[in-house]
Amino acid sequence: MTANIYLPSIATVREVRPETPDTSTYVVSFDDPQLRESFAYEPGQFAELSIFGVGECPIGIASSPTREGLLEFCVRAVGTVTDALHDLEVGDKLGVRGPLGNSWPTTEIEGKDLLFIGGGIGLPPLRSLIQYVLDNRDRYGAVQIVYGARSPQDLVYKEELKEWEDLPDVDFHVTVDAGDDTWDGAVGFVPPFLKDINPSPTNKVAFTCGPPIMIKLVVEALEEMGYADADIITTLEMKMKCGVGKCGRCNIGDKYICRDGPVFSFEELRSIPGALEV
């Protein structure tokens, strides 16, 4: 962060990777070589991306700090700023303000088996932790990934999914709501798909991110399987603005999602009135 908490740093787009028809990965690096060296973040943190003249919006950092050099953001074109982000090409400039927010609990989960459940564009924030865990493999137990999207073309990180599938120490499952001619994998929504896999809750922590309805049903499924709320962790997407706990938008109870989150356990969320009402 700069001394002025509202002042972004200028970065350049180094690579654009289309993921789905409306979603692309932007690989960026800071123009200031010193900042490139010093910028430190934890998996699960986010940044405010700026298109000057259009505005700013919060996007989770999809890369892991264990992979040096470049920052990745996976952006779906859904609004004014994200549409403008989608006009960016390699070499174009943008503003990056961050890192902001808390992070996935990388230390607390050491030695645990890990279950990741992602839906659609909910995978990128999980991927920062997945990459972190794979790069620190001996600190963590078994890794299970369950991912789903509306259709085969809505799956993000198609190449990386294949890599995960091929890794001997990762148990990878993927499903789509509706298949097509190219798809010979599982078909069905994530929550029942997860129930069929029936991952044991023993010594396990589950991480989930996706559309609100998916998260709701996934959590119900996990609780049925015997997972404790403290062992179900998510990252919340609410309308953040300033990212620094001042503008008053993203509060749940006395927490600001941008400052105290975006990562929360369901045990925390259940103790906050209204936190799960969206």
């Binding site: 962060m1 001394a3 002025n4 908490i5 509202y6 002042l7 972004p8 200028i10 700026s50 298109i51 000057f52 003249g53 259009v54 505005g55 700013e56 859904v78 609004g79 994200t82 070499g91 400039k93 503003g95 609100p212 997407e237 609410m238 309308k239 603005k241 300033c242 620094v244 706990g245 001042k246 503008c247 008053g248 938008r249 993203c250 509060n251 749940i252 109870g253 006395d254 927490k255 400052r259 009135p273 209204g274 009402e277 969206v278």
Partner: protein, 343 residues
């Protein structure tokens, strides 16, 4: 510094001396509306006022302010931070409710992610508070929240009108510097005056807020919020005139090659305040927005910042609400023994 006095005739001379060295800001009257603004001379100030329409928080956290300018030059983007102040300032005539609100806003803007714009304005401003006239306005209730309208707490100097003179309490170094500027205008009090020159005690209705937070927190699901929100027009005036509200929006103006990023006050009472691009809204109706406002004032702000309640009893919201929603009635309702009363 010991208590001093200054004659009413000399007050203007002192303020004019200050205006020669600082930007002097004080209460002015325009068609019946009192507002705090910069003046060149003390003659522009009014001393006949209860309080301003817009709280002087606007002098620290302006309704609209530029954060930085951006310019595209070839491939490069240049950012230029906006300087919040050109000159050190003195605010004359601030009331203690509004002084109290600044200590609450300090918690928001000067936490470990410090807002440099607010911070610089606070550091470069000296506050001369003016003790409230007695009797206070019938709507005032600052003492409910522990604010003493006759105390120098939170300001640099307190002036108290006791007839022909003002009592002068300079309680900080910044305050003493200003008093030093008025050489010959201030006199110590004689022993007799120390006893005699006292403002009349403030008599203000006091609301019971001892268990307000606990009682409020038990009412999250109560139908009260629905009822309370019925007369609300969603106009946001309660937040606009509130000295403790701090919600804002950030936006860009200009083109992609030349423009300004600014912030402006926003209101949690607006329907699109928390609306997300997905169409989801965590506070979709007036019921949730009204509840959020009172929870913020009486539960989540004190809990987050370890302060008292985020209300200073200035009564601006209840005076200006077109729907007649009165925060004092809300406090009474919440504090009513058997749940909430049927309004």
């Amino acid at each position: 510094m010991d208590r001093k006095k200054i004659s009413k005739a000399d007050l203007g001379r002192w303020l004019d001396t200050i205006a020669g060295k600082y930007e002097l800001i004080g209460p002015t009257e325009d068609e019946g509306i009192i507002q705090f603004g910069p003046v060149q001379s003390s003659a522009e100030l009014t001393l006949e006022y209860a309080n301003s329409l817009i709280p002087p928080k606007s002098l620290f956290f302006p309704p609209v302010e530029s954060l930085f300018a951006f310019r595209k030059r070839g491939e490069e983007i240049q950012l230029e931070e906006t300087k919040p102040l050109q000159q050190d300032r003195v605010i004359f005539g601030i009331r203690n409710c509004d002084v109290g609100s600044l200590s609450l806003l300090d918690r928001v803007f000067c936490d470990d992610l410090e807002d440099s714009y607010y911070r610089e304005r606070r550091e470069r401003t000296t506050l001369i508070a003016l003790a409230c006239p007695t009797p206070p306005r019938s709507s005032c209730f600052c003492t409910t929240f522990g604010i003493d309208p006759l105390s120098p707490a939170g300001s640099d100097i307190l002036l108290t009108d006791v007839g022909d003179v003002y009592l002068v309490d300079a309680v900080t170094d910044k305050g003493e510097e200003l008093v030093a500027l008025g050489e010959g205008l201030f006199a110590p009090l004689t022993e007799g005056e120390e006893k005699e020159l006292q403002p009349p005690p403030v008599d203000m209705p006091q609301l019971d807020v001892r268990e307000l937070r606990e009682r409020l927190e038990a009412l999250w699901e109560d139908e009260y919020w629905e009822k309370l929100s019925l007369p609300c027009l969603g106009c946001g005036i309660c937040t606009y005139v509130c000295p403790t509200c701090h919600c804002f929006d950030i936006s860009d103006v200009g083109s992609t090659s030349d423009g300004v990023r600014y912030r402006c006050w926003d209101s949690c009472m607006y329907s699109d305040f928390a609306l997300m691009v997905s169409g989801e809204n965590p506070r979709p109706t007036k019921r949730e927005r009204t509840r959020n406002r009172y929870f913020h004032k009486f539960s989540t702000f004190p809990s987050r910042y370890g302060t008292g309640y985020a209300c200073v009893g200035c009564a601006r919201c209840l005076v200006h609400c077109p729907g007649g929603v009165e925060i004092t009635e809300v406090i009474k309702d919440i504090s009513a023994k058997e749940g909430v009363s049927d309004r």
